[in-house]
Symmetry: C2
Subunit: 223 residues, 2 copies
DNA sequence: CACTCCAAATTTGTAGGATGATTGGGATAT
DNA sequence: ATATCCCAATCATCCTACAAATTTGGAGTG
C-alpha cells in the first residue's frame, strides 16, 4: 500500500504562509501588503501562482485588493466571511435562534468559569446600559446591551463560542434592535439584567440558568 | 459625491457563476467539471482568470482538483470547510461545549416544532440504537446514537442549526466515541433516551428541556 | 507660497503562449 | 487474461505583454 502523495501545490503553500503571517500578527488588519512583484520574489513563485493564492484569500475574506492601489489585510478570520455568506442565504429567525442557544449556554458557563476580571468588565458594560437608560437614548442602550451580552460570552472562556456569537451578532444587529424597541414605552429596567449579573458574580449557576431561560422565553415570544 | 464603483472583477463573476451552478444543483456533488479549456470558452475568460476563480473555490472547499484527472464538485457548502479549518486551530473541549449548547436548544425546539414525520424518523433511529445494544456492539451503538441526535436536530426545522451541528459532529467523532465508552461495563439502557423521545413525541417542551439538561450535565461531568 | 491639473510611475487585472507533472486508459507483448 | 508501456488528456507553473485604476509628483498658474 503506497502512501498517499502528500504533494501540496505551490499555490496552497503560499496560501498557508500568508495565512500564518496574518494569524501570527506579522500582517495585522489594515496592513498593506508588498506589491505582487516583491511577494513573487519573497515566496519564489511566479505571478500566476501568487495571484491564485492571493485571490483564494480574497474570496475567503482575509484580504482585499484594489486595482492600482494594492492589497490589504481585511480580517484575520476566514470563518466570519464564510458565516456571513451562509447567513445571507439563510433566514434571520434561524440565525437568531442559534444565537439564543449560544447565549443560554454562555450564561451558565460564565457563572461557572468567570474570573474577577470578567465580573468587572460585565459590570462596566451594565453601567453603560444604565447611563444610556438615564439619558433615555434607546439607540445607545441597544448598543450597550449588545456589548453587555458579548462580555458575558467572553466570560465563558470559550474562544469558539465567543467567535460564533460575535459573527452572528453583527448581521443580526438591525433585527435585534427592532425586536428590543418593539415595546413602547421602552421599559429600561426590565431590560437591565441585574439578576443575571448577580448570579454570575456569585457563581450561582442555577440562578443564571433560570434567569436566562426566562429572558430567552420572553424574547422568543416577540418573534 | 460619486457612487462607489460597483465594478466586479471577472474572476469574481466567474466564481459567482460557478457557485450558482453548484448551489442550484446543475453541478451536483461528485460531478466532474469540463476541462479548463472548455470552461474558458464557456465563460469567455482567459486561463489565468478561470484558474484564479477555480482555485478560490477549491480553497473554499467547494471544488477539488487533481492534476491529470480533472476538477470535481466536493461540497455545496463553503461553511463546512471554513468551520473545519477553524476547529482544527481550536481545542476540542470548546467545540464540544458549543455542540452541547446547540443540542440543548435543539431538544426544546424539536419538542415544539416536530412533525409526525420527524417523530417517526427519531423512533427509527432509537430502534437502531436498541438493535446495536442487543448485539452488544458498542461501535455501532455510538454511530446509531449520533444519528439519533442528528435526527432530533433535524426536527427543529432550523437549517442553520442543523448544518452547524453536523459540521461540529464530524470532527468530534472520535472524542464523542471515547467519552461514551468511558464507563465499563457499558450501560446501554442509561444511554437510550426513551424519556427524551417521549417528550418530543408528546410535545412536552418542559420535559424535553429537563431531560436534556440532566443528560448534558452528566455528559459534562465526564469531561 | 498655495492651488490645480496633468503626466508618469506604480500596482493590480486580464490575456495568451509555452512547458512540466500527473493521471488514466488504451495498445501491445507475453 | 495479465502485465507493461506509451500516449493523450488535464491540471500546475512560469513567462511576457498589455489594459485599467490609482497614486504620486512636478509643472504651471494665481
Amino acid at each position: 500500500m503506497l502512501k498517499k502523495t502528500n504533494r501540496v501545490s505551490l499555490v496552497d503553500q503560499v496560501v498557508s504562509q500568508i495565512e500564518h503571517l496574518i494569524e501570527g500578527g506579522q500582517w495585522p488588519i489594515g496592513e498593506k501588503l508588498p506589491p505582487e512583484m516583491e511577494l513573487m520574489e519573497e515566496f519564489g513563485v511566479s505571478r500566476n501562482t501568487l495571484r491564485e493564492a492571493i485571490h483564494a484569500l480574497v474570496h475567503a475574506g482575509l484580504l482585499e485588493t484594489k486595482q492600482g492601489s494594492g492589497t490589504v489585510v481585511r480580517s484575520s478570520s476566514a470563518l466570519e466571511a464564510a458565516f456571513n455568506r451562509h447567513i445571507e442565504k439563510s433566514n434571520l429567525i434561524e440565525t437568531l435562534e442559534v444565537r439564543l442557544a449560544l447565549e443560554r449556554e454562555a450564561a451558565e458557563m460564565a457563572a461557572k468559569h468567570r474570573t474577577d476580571e470578567d465580573v468587572k468588565e460585565i459590570e462596566e458594560c451594565m453601567a453603560q446600559c444604565q447611563d444610556a437608560a438615564k439619558k433615555d437614548d434607546i439607540e445607545e442602550f441597544v448598543k450597550a446591551d449588545i456589548t453587555f451580552h458579548q462580555a458575558i460570552v467572553k466570560a465563558t472562556n470559550n474562544q469558539l463560542l465567543q467567535d460564533l456569537y460575535e459573527y452572528m451578532t453583527d448581521p443580526l444587529y438591525s433585527s435585534i434592535h427592532d425586536i428590543m424597541i418593539m415595546d413602547i414605552p421602552f421599559d429600561y429596567d426590565k431590560e437591565i439584567h441585574h439578576e443575571l449579573v448577580r448570579a454570575i458574580r456569585e457563581q450561582d449557576v442555577e440562578g443564571a440558568k433560570k434567569y436566562v431561560n426566562e429572558y430567552i422565553h420572553a424574547f422568543k415570544q416577540r418573534l
